[in-house]
């Protein structure tokens, strides 16, 4: 892949739309589309194969949702420029980490809080079908002029309101969809950046990175090498800094335990693009709760 491919907004190929089929979330813009600080709402319909035995979505994929809607809503405030996510924070409500609350379908209300000359701050509130708070998230984005222009939008925006694809790719368990592979020790996970994990500009989707880092953090605490579910172990909060794009791959995530506090484990995680001389893509701090 060359360094700066032409953007693709889903016209006949998987790049830019793969994540929206795997994590289906139609998004609508609230109001007539003229607000300088836009507000949006996403409704996530939870496919069973993405959920744990309680029906709960993993924190990394929840962060993928808030990254998607937060980034898109931030971008609306910047048109005709666009944005790139620089930092993503997510905190789950402590009462929704286990048991029936916080499971199933989710609603994400998102609002731009500040649109500056060079950056945007946007917050999201995640609730379940009964209206319980599931999580809160904020993203910061840098404003830029993207190659090929921003995605095409009609305001007010309605997006991802498409028929669910019957491609078996979207029925795969997360570790297969995200092309993950265990590394040489617990907490080392490789991601192979397949085309469906990239955004319209050919860069690894921030949500793919969030899942990779979450998986590495859970695996180092669970002391397991192979990626996959870790029953009873969940990330309760995360902060991910996006420093460089993932273009080449494989992407190596490395998680290490900083220390423990009761049932919680503080984990530091990084991701590097092995195909780009090990360039540092992400640094993250996560709290992993052992239930």
């Amino acid at each position: 892949m060359n360094d700066r491919p032409e953007p693709s907004f889903g016209s006949g190929e998987m790049r830019g739309i793969g994540m929206s089929h795997y994590l289906p979330m139609p998004v609508i813009e609230i109001g007539d589309g003229s607000a300088p600080l836009p507000t949006t709402r996403g409704i996530f319909t939870a496919p069973e194969h993405l959920l744990d035995s309680d029906g709960r979505l993993e924190t990394g994929m929840l962060a993928s949702l808030t990254d998607s809607i937060g980034g898109m809503t931030s971008g609306l405030s910047c048109l005709p420029d666009w944005i790139v996510t620089t930092n993503l924070s997510l905190r789950r409500s402590p009462d929704t980490l286990q048991g029936p609350q916080g499971t199933g379908d989710l609603t994400i209300n998102t609002q731009v809080m500040r649109r500056g000359r060079s950056s945007v701050v946007t917050r999201s509130s995640v609730s379940d079908a009964d209206g319980h708070d599931v999580a809160t998230s904020w993203v910061t984005c840098a404003v830029l002029t993207p190659a090929g222009g921003p995605p095409p939008f009609t305001r007010p925006v309605r997006m991802n309101d498409h028929e669910r694809s019957d491609d078996p790719l979207f029925e795969l368990p997360p570790e297969q969809f995200f092309s993950l592979e265990g590394g040489s020790r617990p907490g080392e996970i490789l991601l192979h950046p397949a085309i469906h994990l990239r955004n319209p500009w050919g860069i690894l989707h921030g949500g793919s990175v969030a899942h990779l880092l979450d998986t590495a953090a859970r695996c180092v605490v669970a002391d397991r090498i192979e990626p996959g579910p870790t029953p009873g172990i969940i990330v309760s909060d995360l902060v991910i800094h996006f420093m460089n794009p993932g273009r080449e791959g494989p992407i190596l995530a490395e998680a290490s335990v900083v220390g423990r506090k009761g049932r919680d484990v503080l984990v530091r995680v990084t991701a590097r693009d092995q195909g780009a001389e090990g360039r540092l893509m992400n640094a993250a701090a996560m709290t992993v709760r052992v239930l």
Partner: protein, 261 residues
């Protein structure tokens, strides 16, 4: 800041190490330093590190996350700051925290926005030469106060709401509320909410904070609202905390966890 009596050491490569002597004026129920005081240290050291990393431009703190580990009573907290990335418009720093120099005490990540050097700072020369220096100290005969947050002028207006008048003592170089004071104010508002729900040992253990506007109009106030409900074990809560200026403009936005060991 002067009351914290912090020290720093700058190395040849520009990286910075700093120390916060821990005194009862800012310790929590377990005897360890509160996150608000640690935020002061990290913000100040991050600012020092940003001067050489951003040169010839300038840098402002854009966001900061702090995750603490329980330390119990300690003599001093150490922070080691290093650059993770210097981009054209952002600078990302990491701070490793340790207790008495040998035990892990937490982790901080900071983003700075890199901007052209402001006019009022163009001719200012800041000593960034390698070496150890005192960042702040008490006046010769000054007794350390009993309670740091009270000394800053924090007033708990009601559960989860804490105010501070904008005075020079809590301001930064341009007269806005100091970034470290944002952290302390958020800590106090969150702990206030936590004490009501979890009891007197409630302590803020981590903060994800985004700075949005400079707070020039006081009084400044932090408002903490509960995220969901307390943990079923009733030993922790999550909260959202906003710091607003006298015109109700949101100047910083944070999410926190408060726990009661």
């Amino acid at each position: 800041m002067r009351l914290l009596a912090m020290e720093s050491e700058q190395f040849e490569n520009g990286d910075v190490r700093g120390w916060l002597p821990v005194t009862p004026m800012f310790t929590g129920p377990d005897g360890g330093p509160r996150i608000g005081a640690i935020g002061m240290l990290v913000d100040a050291l991050g600012g020092m590190r940003s001067i050489t990393a951003a040169a010839p431009e300038w840098a402002f703190t854009a966001d900061m996350s702090l995750h603490l580990l329980p330390t119990g009573p300690i003599e001093r907290l150490q922070a080691d700051i290093r650059v993770l990335r210097r981009g054209r418009r952002t600078l990302v720093l990491e701070a490793e925290l340790s207790a008495d120099g040998d035990r892990p005490a937490g982790l901080a990540l900071l983003t700075f926005a890199v901007v052209p050097r402001p006019d009022h700072l163009v001719n200012i020369v800041i000593d960034t030469s390698p070496g150890r220096r005192t960042m702040s100290r008490l006046e010769g005969d000054q007794e350390p106060p009993a309670d740091y947050h009270r000394e800053l002028g924090f007033i708990e207006e009601s559960t989860g709401i804490v105010m501070v008048e904008l005075r020079p003592e809590v301001g930064n170089t341009v007269g806005a509320l100091h970034g470290g004071v944002h952290t302390a104010l958020i800590d106090e508002a969150a702990a206030s909410l936590g004490r009501t729900l979890l009891g007197p040992t409630a302590t803020t253990t981590d903060i994800h904070l985004a700075f949005m506007e400079l707070g020039f109009t006081g009084p400044m106030r932090a408002e903490a609202t509960l995220l969901g409900h307390p943990d079923p074990a009733a030993d922790r809560v999550g909260a959202v905390v906003q710091v607003l200026d006298g015109n109700d403009r949101v100047c910083s936005y944070a999410t926190v966890e408060v726990s009661a060991p």
